[in-house]
Amino acid sequence: MKQDVRHNPEQAVTSSARILESLQHPVLVLDAAGELIYANATAAGSFGGWIVGLSLTDIFPDYLRSPAAGDHPTSLRLTTQKGEAFEALLSPLGEGETCVSLWPAAAVLDERTPERADDLTGLALRNPFMAALDHALAGADNRAGSLAVLCLDLDRFKVINDTLGHGIGDQLLKKVADRLRTACRREDLIARFGGDEFVILQRGITGVADAERLAARLVDLIGRTYVLNGHTVNVGVSVGVALRDAGLQSRDLLRNADLALYEAKRAGRGRYRFFEQGMDLQLHERRELEIDLRRALALKQFELAYQPFLDLSTDAVIGFEALLRWNHPVRGKVPPLSFISVAEENGLIVKIGEWVLMTACMAAASWPGDLIVAVNVSPLQFKADTLLTTVSTALERSGLAPERLELEITEGALLADTDNVLATLHSLRALGVKISMDDFGTGYSSLSYLQKFPFNKIKIDRSFVSGGGADSEAILRAVSGLGSNLGMAITAEGVETAEQLGRIREQSCTHVQGYLTGRPMAPDQVELFLQEQPIAQVTN
């Protein structure tokens, strides 16, 4: 065979090209002008596809062409635009051409040397981590499942940082890093990508079971109580895991682990999730929804529908709840359940909430008499700190009397940062606005929330009305009894049948809202609806 090669130059060329193509590390050839005239497959994959024709500086901005290339091989270190470092060996090929062989720098340098580590935790930084991942993927062990990437995000870290200060936050990160080291083996590489984001490369494993064991251990260990400067601190961790699979590059693996992390968080945090095919599609769909949602306000795709509620003592309509509707030209009517959570995740709910308040107050100002408009307020709007201004502006601009505006909040609003929320509620109350507790019975339903603030009204969730069982009835009776003792009005939601209405009447509920007494209607239908109703006008 050797002889064949020697005697057949053409075949020698093809086979050496094939050898070059099969190399797992990038190889480039430069012409005398410094332009790339050849890149093997690994180089094309690592540096972004069609790179022949570019100059070496296009790929490695830190490459300074040496004054005289000379005819000795030189080695140097090059860093890509994305910060991935390589050890390069430049060897002259004659006629001014140069062959450049590259190896990920992590293969050469110790990953844990100080200047490559995170100052606070001593963990690896992003770039060396990515280089190590590249290197591991290029290594001899290419079985699917032979390595795993785990992305971690601390739950509630921001709250701790905000309430206990950065000093404690930093101490916490150090202890978390410490626990990560305890949970991992020597072969694993742990990095901090910034903030409370950690990434682990688990090398040389035998498959899913190994990755799962580590993920479960991390959730347990990181979630255990910390004691920092006498403070007891509890955080959880969410973990996304992706395993090596044929054809996956570093970036794909990291992205898959990140998608899995996103799902772990969506599933309620404090848990791990493995990447599954389709997660990218789900995320893609949510992203699309988010993009559409961002445009919806500007494109005036939101509408409010108004659902009447009745005073049971007079059977008259005394107000309407404003309900948000999204009419998308392609998606059609998007149900609130599927977009409110997205709007809350990305904070859009604050802007949307402002629009709702303004629009509802404007509408109500045109209604006759003292009809009330009830508006839902998201817990996120309390966090944004602008709620008070938003409400007073809406009242001012619309000219609506404050007593005719009722804000509906859920227990969720009182869960975190309770003192600030209570202060805001008291200021709103001082404006003259009514405040009611919405969806009571669905969340924590802690009676202590009822004690914390003198709500004007409690709205009992529809499930207790439609349930009809002895339990639902007992709860309905208990809550309405409690409410009336505390001087709060009670609305039963979701009343659909005359039979339900009958039961409600017996249980000291004061108000009722549901299909039976009126469906949500477009703003221009309100007037007609009212004309057909006996309105309880307050006579002066």
């Binding site: 202890k175 410490d178 255990r224 109580t225 004691v227 400067n229 006498g230 007891t232």
Partner: protein, 147 residues
Amino acid sequence: MSASIYRLVYYSRNHVALDEVAFAAEVDDILAKSRANNVRDGITGALMFNAGCFAQVLEGPLDVVEAAFERIQQDERHGEVSLLTLEPIERRSFPNWAMGFVGMSDETASRFAGVAAASGFDPAHFDGNDLHTILRNLALEEERQAA
């Protein structure tokens, strides 16, 4: 400030094999390590085992108590650690115990077994003060017997 002593009380679920020999070996190891470390750090306290749970009181300067607790948290031999109390105290309750294991001597063991059988003893039903008191009483008992 530097002189102020803190008390930390927790209980946890034991993950050690329930086979008696293996368990005794683990406890011996925990105690040996604890005593060596605690003498070095100026920590005193008591450890108790029952019904699949550990309960422990640690007393000492805040920084060393925190460091010891962090090591203990990372220990795979137990889990679901519930921290009940962390507070400054006037004086130590276990001044002579680098880490006493209560419930080991025959007398207290049988007494303790009685508690376990009679009331279905589970540390989860006690708060930090209760546990502290139980451990202190058991410790006093053992000291009296030893004397």
